[in-house]
């Protein structure tokens, strides 16, 4: 089983013990390694032809490589901050562009998340990570973990959303009204509303979204 640990906040070190121990990582994110490593690009995120077509259609493309070997491999991407998430059979939803590395024990797929993605310009879908093992998420600035519980729903700016897990319902909240079209928009016209029980990862930065301009 691959061992994930953080070196500082921006470098992920994964120790592989050989013998078919593998992880999937964002293509090109390896910065250094020791020991013996083999890198293999996985076409279509390693989800087969069907996964590849789905990803292409949904806009959740990710280029992933499979890392196999023995030793320690270091991953980093544009000095993004990294958070580790340990999964024991739960499901984690994450933006494909925020996923750095997953354990071989996790499988990834594409899931429909409703209208949220529309404001984000990267489709209506997120990547679902499921299984047992660790996953590493990237965020611009250290991610803030926010708990959603009954009676305390959370609203998140689509541009700051990174990932969520748990039993959450999400809905799309819009404050667009006639003022928006008169150039008096509030700039916070779209939010994703999370209700239920779970955790949401938010980054202290916003991607450019269509909604952000309204």
């Amino acid at each position: 089983m691959a061992q994930f640990r953080l070196h500082g906040t921006k470098v992920l070190a994964v120790t592989l013990s050989g013998g078919g121990d593998t992880v999937k990582a964002k293509n090109g994110s390896m910065v250094a390694y020791d020991g013996q490593m083999a890198f293999k690009k996985m076409t279509g995120g390693g989800e087969g032809i069907r996964g590849m077509v789905t990803r292409r259609l949904t806009g959740e493309q990710m280029t992933v490589m499979e890392v196999k070997g023995q030793g320690t491999c270091f991953f980093a991407d544009r000095a993004s901050d990294i958070s580790l998430v340990r999964l024991n059979g739960e499901k984690l939803h994450v933006e494909a562009s925020n996923l750095l590395c997953t354990d071989a024990g996790l499988h990834t797929g594409t899931s429909f998340t409703g209208l949220r993605g529309a404001t984000q310009g990267n489709g209506l879908f997120t990547t679902a990570v499921e299984g047992t093992g660790e996953a590493a998420l990237m965020s611009a600035g250290p991610a803030v973990l926010l708990r959603v519980s009954q009676g305390a729903p959370l609203q998140v700016d689509p541009g700051a959303y990174v990932a969520h897990q748990g039993n959450l319902r999400q809905s799309f909240q819009s404050g667009v009204n006639f003022r928006t079209f008169m150039g008096e928009g509030s700039g916070e016209a779209f939010q994703i509303r999370f209700e239920g029980d779970g955790l949401v990862y938010v980054q202290p930065s916003e991607r450019n979204t269509v909604g952000g301009e309204l």
Binding site: Q155, V156, E184, S186, A189, Q203, P204, E206
Partner: protein, 265 residues
């Protein structure tokens, strides 16, 4: 700094009017706050965002918002809850003013309490906050506070408090002689890029950030095209008696421009 269990925040454990981490600030909203667009990353509770110009906010805007040219960039958050603010993963800090004044680069100001009032500084691109209350501003890297007299690199300046005389300072060496003229005109040769600073004297505090990389400002807050308004007049020379207006007419290769004046030609 390896934390095995990252801290999870919820509605009650989020700090009230304090930093969550160096890059995110939590406002305990109970009433109204002014907020620059796009700086809210998440919130708990019942909060509405109104564009400035929204009818019911007239009284609030009249008392605390005096920058019509920035109105399109600001909103009022109204309601109860916890509001998380952040800006492109830059450091954010809150500042308390006690019957004071502070001027800050307009792109760096995230939010402020309505007990403060926001005005445009006469220095273009800066906003001045006057009154008593809390505001949140971002900086690229940590903020350092220095006491005047001090000269600051233009790109590293975040803002200043109480200083009465922010002005430009040019090194004499840079302007001297024929080479200086050629440098000034063409930008070629011998320029270290540090010949121009902002100078502050008098009692006060100057805020600088630890990098010279500016945040991309929204191109907003142009000052009115009026005689006597520095930086005013989008169309060069239109400002009447403002011979030294903000805009310089572009120099043609044949013209000697500054050199001509220097040698009295």
């Amino acid at each position: 700094m390896t934390t095995d269990a990252p801290q999870v925040f919820d509605f009650t454990t989020l700090p009230a009017n304090d930093n969550v981490n160096p890059y995110a600030f939590s406002v305990d909203l109970n009433g109204q706050w002014f907020l620059q667009k796009g700086k809210m990353i998440a919130y708990y509770g019942q909060i509405d965002f109104h564009g400035i110009g929204h009818g019911p906010l007239d009284r609030l805007v009249a008392s605390s918002f005096h920058s019509p040219l920035h109105a399109a960039d600001w909103v009022v958050a109204e309601g109860h809850g916890k509001l998380l603010l952040a800006d492109r993963a830059f450091d954010v800090n809150s500042y308390d003013l006690d019957d004071g004044n502070l001027t800050v680069r307009s792109g760096n100001l995230l939010a402020y309490e309505p007990s403060l009032s926001l005005k445009q500084s006469i220095i273009p691109g800066f906003l001045t906050l006057i009154g008593t209350g809390k505001f949140v501003a971002a900086s690229n890297g940590e903020v350092h506070f220095v006491e005047p007299p001090v000269r600051v690199d233009p790109q590293a300046l975040v803002g200043w408090a109480d200083c009465p005389s922010p002005c430009h300072h040019y090194d004499h060496q840079y302007l001297k002689g024929v080479m200086g003229g050629i440098r000034a005109m063409t930008g070629l040769g011998g320029a270290s890029g540090e010949e121009h600073q902002f100078e502050f004297v008098g009692a006060g505090t100057v805020l600088i950030q630890s990098t010279e990389m500016l945040m991309a400002d929204r191109n907003a807050g142009a000052v009115p095209d009026q005689a006597g308004v520095p930086g005013g007049g989008g169309h060069g020379g239109h400002g009447g008696q403002s011979g030294q207006g903000g805009q310089q007419t572009p120099q043609l290769p044949g013209q000697l421009g500054g050199l001509q004046r220097r040698f009295g030609l």
